[in-house]
Symmetry: C2
Amino acid sequence: MQKVFDLHFYPGTCSITFQLNYNMSVKEESQILQYAPFMSTVEPGFWHNLSQLKLDVDRLNENERKIWGYYSSSVPPGSSMALFVDFSAFNKNFTVDATSLPANGILLNKNTLESFKECDKLNLLESYGTELVNQMKNGDAVEKPSLLCKFILLTFADLKKYQFYYWFAFLAPKFADTALLKPPQKIGTVFGREQIDTFEELYSAISDTSERAFLTVTLTEEGNISILPLKEFGDALRQKNQRTFLAFSDPSILDENPGWPLRNLLALIKYKWYCISVKRLFLLKRYCHSLIVKRPEVVGSALEVIGIRRKFDGVWNADRSVIFSVMLGKDDTPLDKVNWVGWEKNQRGKFGPRMTHLGSTMDPLRLAETSVDLNLKLMKWRLLPELDLNVVKDSHVLLLGAGTLGCCVARLLMAWGVRNITFVDNGRVSYSNPVRQMLFTFKDCQNGGRLKAEAAADALKEIFPGVASKGVKLSIPMPGHPVGEGSKKEVEEAVDQLKELIKNHDLIFQLTDTRESRWLPTLIAAHYGKLTINAALGFDTFLVMRHGITVVDESSQSDDVEAVIDYSSKFIKGSQLGCYFCNDVVAPGNSTRDRTLDQQCTVTRPGISLLASSLAVELAVSLLQHPMRGLAPACCSSKNASVGKEENGGDGDCERVLEKELQSHLGLVPHSIRGFLSQFELVVPATHRFSCCVACSHKVLNEFKIRGFEFLCQVFNKPGYLEDLTGLTKLHQESASLEVRK
Amino acid sequence: MQKVFDLHFYPGTCSITFQLNYNMSVKEESQILQYAPFMSTVEPGFWHNLSQLKLDVDRLNENERKIWGYYSSSVPPGSSMALFVDFSAFNKNFTVDATSLPANGILLNKNTLESFKECDKLNLLESYGTELVNQMKNGDAVEKPSLLCKFILLTFADLKKYQFYYWFAFLAPKFADTALLKPPQKIGTVFGREQIDTFEELYSAISDTSERAFLTVTLTEEGNISILPLKEFGDALRQKNQRTFLAFSDPSILDENPGWPLRNLLALIKYKWYCISVKRLFLLKRYCHSLIVKRPEVVGSALEVIGIRRKFDGVWNADRSVIFSVMLGKDDTPLDKVNWVGWEKNQRGKFGPRMTHLGSTMDPLRLAETSVDLNLKLMKWRLLPELDLNVVKDSHVLLLGAGTLGCCVARLLMAWGVRNITFVDNGRVSYSNPVRQMLFTFKDCQNGGRLKAEAAADALKEIFPGVASKGVKLSIPMPGHPVGEGSKKEVEEAVDQLKELIKNHDLIFQLTDTRESRWLPTLIAAHYGKLTINAALGFDTFLVMRHGITVVDESSQSDDVEAVIDYSSKFIKGSQLGCYFCNDVVAPGNSTRDRTLDQQCTVTRPGISLLASSLAVELAVSLLQHPMRGLAPACCSSKNASVGKEENGGDGDCERVLEKELQSHLGLVPHSIRGFLSQFELVVPATHRFSCCVACSHKVLNEFKIRGFEFLCQVFNKPGYLEDLTGLTKLHQESASLEVRK
């Protein structure tokens, strides 16, 4: 198609070339055209997406975002003339349905309420108005007239309270008033029934709905109706023997007033037609013919504008459409200098922002979901942009023990965004638990007490319904607790269940209260190469550690202590770090026998379990942030570990050399953390794997791999078996024989 | 009264002196007397008191305790013959009511289930049997015959689960069977109506109910009935023309069988009468006269025993009493060598212990109360006998802020046994809170959110109904938040309320999330000399500190920095330690203005708040365990604080010298604890009070004391006022002028 309106704006020329003097008497003779304003309507979905973008993408970035709004030309009488902004506003490929028209928005989301309040509103209008002017001048707005409907959305999102402050501006230039030459006419007074139906048919047939916003309509002498793109308005005008109309999809419901979009359409018509180059002057005569009427300088007729208003009576029809006969006002202001208006009045009828509190209208579950992530995502805004929250969130975590440690660890994991938490415990909640075990209440203790694992899983859901928590009642089989023939099947099932659980989780926390209950989980976790965090409490001391990750193809060599220690360096590879049992030279046995009450109960200073839990979770999360995960190396002696010793020099070197490898995004990833509350002191020693370890050494893992439950039964039933197997017995004998010789 | 039975046992003589040969045919001719055994009945009150004693007094001590039981001679037919042990069992001045008889118990409460099971039951019988023998021999049992009813109660109290394992032994010697010479007769067949009534009257009139257990009864030929103490049995026997009966209050409900107490009475009769000195031999003849019948060696009649059994028919009567005609069996075993029996059968009719689970029968509230104290009291058993739990329990604690820190601190305080906790907060629970603020759940967020202070106080009660928690909605007035005339009254009320709250609590925790909100509480707490703990969070760092205690009479001089620093020592007195503001050189202002979301929210690693809360509570409790409380000195540089510095020597000295003063029972009481999670490091620096401190300096306290709210208003409204007042402005100017000269 030939580009008829190949009109370009030459800066600085328009005001010189054309100084058309309008006859002001027009204004006096006729009514001034007034436009029905938009009413902004923001759907909650928009705020959700805005929140997500702010949290995850924009963060502290205040740059503008292009958004989309939409309005309808089929607003039922009595409704308001809404401009909608909803969940789809940020879509790159925004489309509107057949009843709607798109609007181009600029989102300016401020970081603080203060900057929201204090930002220069007039300046915003001007700068985005200028953008629109440029689009009119360079022809974009003619080619793609939907650009004419443009709005600014200034916001401040208080994501903590789910309060959103916002203010819309529907951009429009302030130029000389347009005259309404006669009262608006219903389309039926100009078009016949058949013509209206044809009109509706043609209108509906425009496949790109965004082109429906602004159109050219012609009516031949024969009564034939055509709908053409806006850009063919000039061509149409040149055709004789036909009546040419401007047309726009009109959201207004008022008989006397067209909707706001006409304002910018008329601006385009007015400025575009006057701001042409001298070369194109010949065209002007023709255009002026139709554009400017009743003016001495320009011969022409009134501009007829169809406000297309539709309704649905079984089928769509355009019967409610209105024809406005207007004449543009005289204006000497050059396009660049025009003032812009458009800030919306708020609910109280004043120019000012609106506020919506989403908390009350939102689905509470979804609200909780997003709120819980808020504090986490804010970490990435400024402090730790490289933090990988998803690796934490997506971890499936198994907590062995739902007591003091288990409850606290679970809460902290949830705070870190973990959504899959499984508790394993075989106990019931007793009356002494709730004050120390922070997932239980008095209610859980009554009638014999609820199962801890279940009560803890339920409590997590009460705190945050979005969590997928499970409770498994399971007694962990233990060395020193013999398995008779009668209970063999039951114990084997428990072993299988534990294996399955460990296999299906990514991160294992060992939080039980005896040494022997940690043996089987340590073994199975090593078998599957799972990341394991261990926490154990004393009265005012604690140990938190990560187990070395067993690398299968290395395991055959790695058990030789001599071979694995890299004496030349001061760190230990993740695969060479010890487990909970690596420092022990006796296998675990039944430690619950013959214990007095104070030995049975974990008698600790209450703060100890929280300290240990916090550090266990933070160590785990730090590891997840380390590129090597469980294989991250640990420094043999930290600054703290060397406290009190005279050696200071070496550590510094070690840290400098290995700084990168030893740190995750969150900092150090020590092998173990030992706390001494009486001195308010932490130390972070690292120790090697032990080739005779009763839980993670190659010999033990191998027996387990080959003989499975049969091997376990031997361990459960036969004291000394593990020591014999691992070589501990031999070690003891050798050291004993050495003693004798002394 | 003449001591008739002034009989003494001369060791080794009895078996030599008397070798009476009984005719065994007696046994064959008549029935063997069989005794109705006791059924032990333990009231929950006993277990409660036992638990308390174990926890608070005995702890690891397994020594025997004397206890009391009681039984009744008015057991309705169909009931069991119970020996009761209840809450009064441990009373020093044990008394029984008019219908009951006392029993002497020995409580042996074992520390472990294993020692309970494994302790030598026969040995116990023997050793306590020997004790009874000695009481028979030395006359105590004659003087105070209630000693004859003796039991052992062997227990293991699992105070964690409220399970009590126990086993009663009702001590009785195993000697030759006693013959029942004829079927037992109802008292009515021997005594007339009037005689029975007189008997009841006399019995009831015995004022010391414990004397009613074992008695002498005489019936003269004239039909006169007398009741005499047991010790007068011999005298009575010597009286001619009267029939003399042994009598005992009989708990048995069986017509044919006397109750268990008769067994030991007969033992006394049997052995006492034979174990006499040669000097007293003449008496023997008389006694044998009545005691041993139908035996060739001894001339005499059958021993008649009244089993006194009462019932209440409007008035008490003894109609159910039974008379047993018995003859003691022959027995050559000396008193010392007799075997003892008495272990009770359990519910399944086997010799074995019983178990009671008190949890299910106890008042849950009381159960919770005692359970909560359990873990705390166990600390005193072995680890820290000197720990003063009451000073912690009795503390009234005020928590300013019911957010992440406040919730966690409250839980820990409750775990330490604190019962009076008041929250101050003006916020509402939002959806992001529950995963980090451990007293809130999803429910609390709905419908706009509950008030945090109230929700937290309620949550504490749900955890432990015994807590006296309160929530106060209060906005703490802050510098930089001006007070207009309109809000003056409201702010003044808030100040008054805060003053009142701080005044009425012993321990103040500052757990709010802005610097300026800590100013007024710091000032007021200093004004009242209250112990104040402050906790503040960074992203992965935190500060926990105690404020120096303002000693009023020192305050006028102490503000001169020069004067207070004791350069010769390396510690700071509690009165000279700084507050939260002492390190600052600017007054707090409005820090909430113009903050982006990540600055508004406390963006922290979740573990940080738990670490800070734990250390805040543990520091507070450590202080309470220090004899000087808040005035406890703090070491200027701890081991940790000196890490990385080259100075090592001095600290050691300091610690040695001041070890005692610097440590509470729980360890160090540092001035502040700073944590760096990225390095898993704690340091504990101490700093001096600052004479220009905007919150605790003499000038500020003095203005507050004199001018009160007027002064505060000036602070709230006038930026720079505090700096001017304290001399900070001058300090700034001086340092600025110095800079210029450079």
